[in-house]
């Protein structure tokens, strides 16, 4: 039975895994940008910037992603058309899913980036500034390269979490793996086999990612000595 499902629905599930990865990559891409922006805002010497960053992180962390996804996919277009008077404004499931993932993951990335920057000794920035380098040059050439080394394991870990979180977006109908699997179950009535296969698929992809993270981590630590 397992083999039969595999042969019949295997290609469909693989394609769904492709969609999952696509969604994860889109989300991660924008999450990195958001994370960098809000991470930097939180280390600037401006109270206003720090507060903006804190508010963003607190809101996103305080709202479950499923609620965020519903709001962006259903609530936001409705808000736009009723309040701003723009008719026919809709978001595709991929767009809405990307935004939800990017916001969610971006908040955690901001925290990772903040911690990474703060882990770099203050003397590094001071020495760079004392030579006459402007703040952003010092940040880019001295502080960030060192911060990124310490951040890489946490970032990859966050990537894995985000990849798993794509499954939450089955609720807005994006044809990622879980959503597709539900349809397969409906067609075959074989819950156990289908969810087993789906679980193994996630496991394989994430194991590969974790291995990759381990290798990166070891490399970084070797470079340290």
């Amino acid at each position: 039975m397992l083999l039969k499902i595999l042969s019949t629905y295997g290609p469909l599930l693989l394609e769904a895994m492709g969609q999952t990865l696509l969604l994860a990559l889109c989300g991660l891409f924008f999450a990195c940008i958001l994370g960098l922006i809000f991470g930097l805002l939180s280390v600037l010497k401006s109270r206003v910037c720090n507060i903006i960053s804190t508010i963003f992180v607190d809101i996103i962390r305080g709202v479950p992603m499923i609620v965020l996804a519903f709001f962006i996919y259903f609530g936001f277009p409705q808000f736009v058309s009723s309040s701003l008077g723009i008719k026919n404004f809709t978001l595709s499931a991929l767009q809405a899913g990307t935004i939800a993932l990017a916001l969610n993951c971006g908040a955690y990335m901001a925290e990772i980036i903040r911690a990474g920057i703060q882990s770099v000794d203050k003397g590094q920035m001071e020495a760079a500034r004392s030579l006459g380098l402007p703040y952003w040059k010092a940040m880019r050439k001295v502080v960030l390269p060192q911060a990124i080394r310490t951040m890489i394991p946490s970032i990859i870990n966050q990537f894995i979490i985000t990849l798993k979180d794509t499954s939450i977006l089955s609720v807005i109908g994006f044809p990622e793996l879980v959503n597709t699997a539900k349809n397969v179950v409906a067609n075959t009535m074989r819950s156990s086999e289908v969810w087993f296969i789906v679980g193994v698929m996630y496991l394989i992809v994430i194991t590969i990612l974790s291995r990759f993270a381990k290798i990166m981590e070891r490399r970084i630590n070797r470079g340290r000595e």
Binding site: G123, S130, G132
Partner: protein, 248 residues
């Protein structure tokens, strides 16, 4: 004083610096002339580092006037980065850029600030590394250097910007005793060449031999100043006498 006919490099008047409620510098005034080597002595917490860091505005200045190299750095409109290009600073904990090798450390500021082409910067760096006796370490990373070597690279890195003034904040305090000499030697060489230097240190021997003026700071004030002989051998203020009796 004999230096009076020389150009005033650093003019400080009624400098005050507070961290929140804590007033660290209460009223500091001093003129430092070209070619002077001013050594600042004083007990821990007396505000020596804070004073030095006000001279290149690593600390925001609370009140008073500080004019460095002709630029009023207490004026918000002054481009502090331009001033800093001419004021080198050497830190107690070296602060070499850990992500760059020695050459990278030396070349970063001159090339990024368009003071030199890559080739020129490399040449200058090699010349300065030879001078501090570390030409063979150009490719080493900070983690591969001893403390004394790190500090010599840090001095060379500051010199690569061809500064008029050098500030030193306890440059030998974090070093093993056997490495102190090599760093002081480089500093002495600089002094001989006429570099204007402000040095916070506990090395009384260095103050005696190299300083043109010694300043004793305590409690956010300059308590006493004069030639090394005056301040170290014949101190007048009870607080200076008390301090020196502890460190000598």
């Amino acid at each position: 004083m004999a230096e009076n006919n020389k150009q005033v490099k650093i003019h400080v008047s009624h400098l005050k610096k507070s961290f929140g409620e804590l007033e660290v510098l209460k009223d500091v005034s001093i003129d430092i002339h070209e070619g002077e080597v001013v050594v600042i002595l004083g007990p821990s917490g007396s505000g020596k580092s804070t004073f030095l860091r006000c001279l290149n505005r690593l600390e925001e200045i609370t009140d008073g006037t500080v004019i460095v190299d002709g630029y009023d750095i207490t004026d918000k409109k002054t481009d502090i980065n331009k001033v800093r290009e001419n004021v080198g600073m050497v830190f107690q904990l070296f602060n070499l850029f850990n992500n760059l090798d020695v050459m990278g450390n030396m070349m970063l500021a001159p090339t990024e600030l368009k003071k030199a082409t890559k080739e020129e910067a490399r040449e200058t760096a090699m010349r300065l590394l030879k001078r501090v006796g570390l030409a063979d370490k150009a490719e080493a990373y900070p983690a591969q250097l001893s403390g004394g070597q790190k500090q010599r690279v840090a001095i060379a890195r500051a010199l690569a910007m061809n500064p008029d003034i050098m500030l030193f904040d306890e440059p030998t305090s974090a070093l093993d005793p056997e490495m102190v000499g090599e760093v002081l030697q480089v500093m002495q060489g600089l002094a001989k060449e006429g570099m204007t230097m402000v040095v916070v240190t506990h090395e009384i021997g260095f103050a005696r031999e190299v300083a043109t003026r010694v300043i004793f700071m305590e409690g956010g004030y300059i308590v006493e100043q004069g030639t090394p002989d005056e301040v170290i051998n014949h101190p007048k203020e009870p607080r200076t006498i008390d301090f020196l009796s502890k460190v000598l």
